[in-house]
Symmetry: C2
Subunit: 243 residues, 2 copies
């Protein structure tokens, strides 16, 4: 490592973001189950753009103002007043191409707004679905990076940590990393990578239990598959577009 490399740090919960210097950094918002996986999928399948909102009420409100698909869930079901859910399987090309998706994603949107407030240079979203596109973008820039896990109501989760570890494993030689959370994330990923679904299941990961309880094992498997929707969602002026 040389001092001239940009820094990479990992923030495992939004409640820890204040510890990191996001100003002028590239911040990757990570919400593997399922917001950022679904965002990558919708944009990969031709969605015009995605507007992330942090509440069902805002989603309903936007749905009245613009011609769009409103989506969001509560307790594993489509939220009252919205038309679609959070599953990536709902956003096939046939359905979403050319449309605007307004997606309710509480944890991810909160972190995104925090990164914005802290003066991030670029904000993108990452998931296994767009792992390579995320890494390629980080390597193409010469800026500090914060891998920001959206977590679940500020509690650290396994799948977002795993994704941070996967990114670190791929890009680490190009960054200066003096961050124990990054080392922990990479160790976890290396232990899990041969079968992340089985790892989540074996570890009783909280979101594995929650989603499989709703019969959504298929969603979990999809969201752990690398490069299945390999584009980069880029946030600017309130919307996520494909670059």
């Amino acid at each position: 490592m040389t001092d001239s490399k940009p820094f990479l740090t990992t923030c495992l919960s939004p409640a820890l973001l204040h510890l990191y210097d996001a100003s002028n950094a590239v911040v990757v918002i990570i919400d593997v189950l399922r917001a950022t996986s679904t965002i990558a999928t919708a944009l990969n399948n031709g969605a015009k753009y995605v507007i992330p909102v942090d509440s069902v009420a805002k989603c309903i409100e936007l749905g009245k103002q613009i011609n769009c698909i409103t989506a969001g869930e509560r307790d594993g079901k489509i939220a009252e007043g919205l038309a679609y859910g959070n599953s990536p399987f709902e956003y096939s090309r046939d359905f979403i191409e050319g449309k605007i998706l307004v997606l309710t994603t509480t944890n991810g949107t909160k972190l995104l707004h925090m990164a914005l407030d802290k003066g991030a240079r670029y904000i993108v979203t990452g998931s296994f679905a767009n792992l390579s596109a995320t890494c390629d973008f980080l390597l193409s820039q010469n800026h500090n990076v914060i891998l920001g896990c959206a977590a679940w109501k500020d509690k650290i989760n396994i799948e977002d940590t795993l994704f941070a570890g996967a990114v670190i494993n791929r890009v680490k030689n190009h960054f200066s990393i003096n961050c124990d959370s990054s080392m922990i994330a990479e160790t976890l990923y290396l232990e899990a990578k041969d079968d992340m679904y089985e790892f989540m299941k074996k570890q009783n990961a909280s979101h594995y239990l929650r989603l499989s309880g709703y019969g959504l094992e298929k969603d979990i498997r999809y969201c752990l598959t690398p490069d299945i929707a390999n584009i980069l969602p880029f946030y600017e002026n309130g919307i996520l577009t494909r670059i």
Copy 2:
């Protein structure tokens, strides 16, 4: 797992403690490098009790009021106005037996006071030096447990996470654990346990770098050695005593 088992959760940073219900729980304060290792060592070697304080100023103040050993460091050296440092090697039986130790430990004391404010039932301190005594105590109680990592200025660190993982690995069958941080900690521990010193070194753990930079590799090795001072420090009325 049955519902009748008490819960065990892991809090990887004091900045996340508000997410957990500490009321009536046993909270284990973990500050492996080096506060809780040194506390176990001093009490194992016959110190009358240990008063943890969160600043050098308070340590100096107490030193004027009672007959005690005042200890604390800044940047790897004994802090100005104090007599001794934070190394467990300073607290041999010859030196510390029968004495009161006032120890400056910023991160650990902060977390301890937070646990107290949140209504913890019992507060104990844990480190590899007293791993078995810590686990035995948790197993002897039928209460919820929070493994509280002191971290470093709220940033998650590898060694405190490793210790949480070691405890979980030993006691998990007796608790209900639905906590991704606990699973991450145990995975890290299982990966590191055969040679934790080499693991810390290989991972460029932030405290490995900091302490080895001060020539304190010997302290790190000591603090990663299980059961080298196998007693249980118990906090009550502002002091830590051996039970």
